[in-house]
């Protein structure tokens, strides 16, 4: 099974233009900040938002083609959709919610009901068949939504922020369950999320989307190690620079030269982990070739460390111990010096 979608949609100020291709064996997470167009992309694949240009293909069957005007309506697409706030039908019982898709496709009432009960058993909600959605907890509703989407046996499963409606205490457990259910489902699996942890836990491959555009794709580890946008770098918690690499140095757009050990050339990203950035009150002596002055612009706690944001010719975040923080006496807002070794600069093609 495969999904091949080229989606161009304009909604308000958002101009979505993304190409996406995935196959049965992988779980793909669409990761991006709010307003990046992730939800719109899912809706377009499901046929709920019309394409202004592009084409959606599922298993080599064209679902929609803006060029030819071809359009298979949502109800005939065989795509299961788990909505962000689940949208369980409030007037129907839990069992009727799960049976809805089967009934809508013409399955006999008794058959649909027994299949719905099977699904409720699979998601651990056996005793709740007669309950109304309003009587369930957030985590239980999420499982009903999943069972409802899967019961008709769709060829693709799209999940829009499946954990966002849950409070922090239940999220971890529901995430674990969701991972198991995703693993046992045979079909296209797409999860939209803005939470990097959720993406890393649930997905085999990440597609990062910002401002309606595809930014980066790769396994969670690849994306974390080689962020290609400020958004991803911030999620991972590293410093990201972009420039032109040439013989052991990277020239940033403002002309600043940063020494790097890697012998790469061309347009590159350079990543410097905050741990590798040392702070000093006076200009340091010795080996580091990367020495920059600046002013402290904020301090945040990060685990048992402190992260100091310094602005100067380079904007960098440095990680120091609380003891180091006290020693530096950063409170007076005076000049500080940052240094890092060329070998700590990871350079890779942009």
């Amino acid at each position: 099974m495969s999904l091949d979608a080229t989606v161009q949609v304009v909604v308000g100020t958002l101009e979505l233009d993304v190409h996406l291709k995935t196959e049965e064996g992988e779980v793909v997470a669409l990761l991006g900040p709010n307003g990046a167009g992730k939800t719109t992309l899912l809706q377009a694949i499901a046929g709920l938002v019309p394409l202004s240009a592009g084409r959606v293909e599922l298993d080599d069957k064209v679902l929609e083609d803006a060029a030819t005007g071809q359009y298979v309506p949502t109800e005939r697409r065989s795509i299961g959709f788990v909505f962000q706030d689940y949208l369980l039908f409030p007037h129907l019982s839990v069992a009727d919610n799960v049976a809805f898709g089967l009934r809508a496709r013409g399955t006999a009432k008794s058959v649909a009901r027994s299949r719905a009960l099977e699904w409720l058993e699979r998601v651990g909600l056996t005793g709740y068949a007669a309950s109304k959605p309003a009587e369930l907890s957030g985590g239980q509703r999420q499982r009903v939504a999943l069972a409802r989407a899967l019961a008709p046996g769709p060829r693709a499963l799209l999940l829009d922020e499946p954990l966002a409606a849950l409070d922090v205490t239940t999220r971890a457990a529901v995430r674990r369950d969701l991972k198991t259910h995703l693993a046992s489902y045979r079909g296209i699996r797409l999860v939209v999320t803005h939470d990097p942890l959720e993406a890393a836990v649930l997905a085999d491959r990440l597609i990062v989307i910002e401002h309606g555009r595809h930014v980066q794709t790769g396994t969670p580890i690849e994306v974390a190690e080689h962020p290609k946008s400020r958004y991803v770098a911030d999620l991972v918690g590293v410093n990201l620079l972009r420039g032109e690499a040439d013989h052991g140095s990277v020239r940033l757009s403002d002309g600043t030269l940063v020494s790097a050990a890697d012998a790469v050339t061309g347009e590159v990203f350079a990543v410097i982990h905050p741990r590798a950035v040392a702070l000093h009150r006076a200009r340091p002596e010795g080996s580091p070739r990367n020495v920059w002055s600046g002013h402290v612009n904020g301090v945040e706690l990060y685990g048992d460390r402190a992260r100091v944001r310094v602005e100067g010719r380079l904007h960098l975040v440095a990680e120091v111990t609380p003891a180091g923080l006290a020693e530096l006496r950063l409170g007076d807002g005076g000049e500080v010096w940052m240094s890092f070794k060329a070998t700590e600069v990871a350079v890779y093609a942009a």
Binding site: E75, F81, L87, P90, H91, L92, F100, G101, A104, P152
Partner: protein
């Protein structure tokens, strides 16, 4: 928090406003000859008018639901040029003097009306001065209440429930009957009750278009009005019945219109 106190002038005017409504109600309750009530209630004329009123108002509510729900759906969901104008025209009877409505109906469905003659010739159906005419008059005046209430319900419902139903394979008809209508059931109920209450109290359009024939077109409001000249006490009793019905309607809608306080 301290309780808020009304300025003196506002308080006095508000009390006058309340009295303006309560005194007539009080008059009705106090001046009704309760001893005559059983006899007035069981007189054949009253029973006939009551029966006719119930049949006509319920039929007109049914007709309003049949035509009004689809109309509300179209207004809420389909964009077409002239929609606002059309909505204004079809809700005009809410503000139109009912007598004018009755005359308009006469000019359309009367024997020499726009389509009345054709209806008579083709189907042998005559509307003026028949019970069906009463139903038409009541529907004409009452249906806009249902249309507006249902349209408001459709507009305020979360349409993503319909999207969810479609991803589950539900076609438009299934979405409408199994998701949309159940979700707007409170609006549908409120609209139907308002519509029925309006139909039950209809006077002007009915007497103009359908006339005042006991047993055929003489509904409760018409009977009340006529009794006032011949048998005032009887008309008081009938008025009280209509008052009780209205009160019942209001109570059944209290969650919607009076809040839970």
């Amino acid at each position: 928090m301290r309780r808020e106190r009304a300025p003196l002038a506002i308080g006095a005017l508000a009390v006058a406003g309340v009295l303006f409504f309560l005194v007539p109600l009080l008059g009705l309750v106090l001046r009704t000859p309760w001893s005559d009530a059983p006899r007035a209630l069981t007189s054949p004329d009253t029973l006939e008018a009551l029966r006719l009123s119930l049949i006509a108002s319920l039929s007109s509510t049914g007709l309003s639901i049949l035509l009004g729900v689809p109309l509300a759906w179209v207004y809420a969901r389909i964009e077409f040029p002239g929609r606002n104008l059309l909505r204004a025209l079809t809700t005009l009877p809410m503000v139109l003097p009912p007598v004018v409505g009755g005359i308009a109906l006469l000019l359309a469905f009367g024997r020499r009306g726009l389509v009345g003659g054709w209806l008579d010739a083709t189907f042998g159906v005559t509307l003026p001065f028949t019970t069906l005419g009463v139903v038409f008059a009541e529907t004409f005046v009452a249906m806009p209440f249902l249309v507006l209430t249902v349209e408001a319900g459709l507009r305020s419902m979360d349409r993503r429930f319909e999207h969810a139903a479609r991803t589950l394979g539900a076609g438009r008809w299934t979405v409408l009957t199994r998701v949309t209508l159940p979700l707007i059931a409170p609006s549908l109920f409120a609209g139907a009750v308002l519509c029925w209450a309006r139909a039950l109290g209809e006077f002007g359009a009915t007497i103009t278009f359908a006339g005042n024939f006991p047993g055929v077109t003489q509904t409760m409001p018409l009977a009340v009005y006529l009794l006032l000249e011949t048998n005032p006490e009887g008309s008081f009793v009938l008025s009280l019945i209509l008052l009780a019905v209205s009160l019942l309607v209001l109570v059944s809608l209290r969650d919607r219109w009076l809040g839970s306080a």
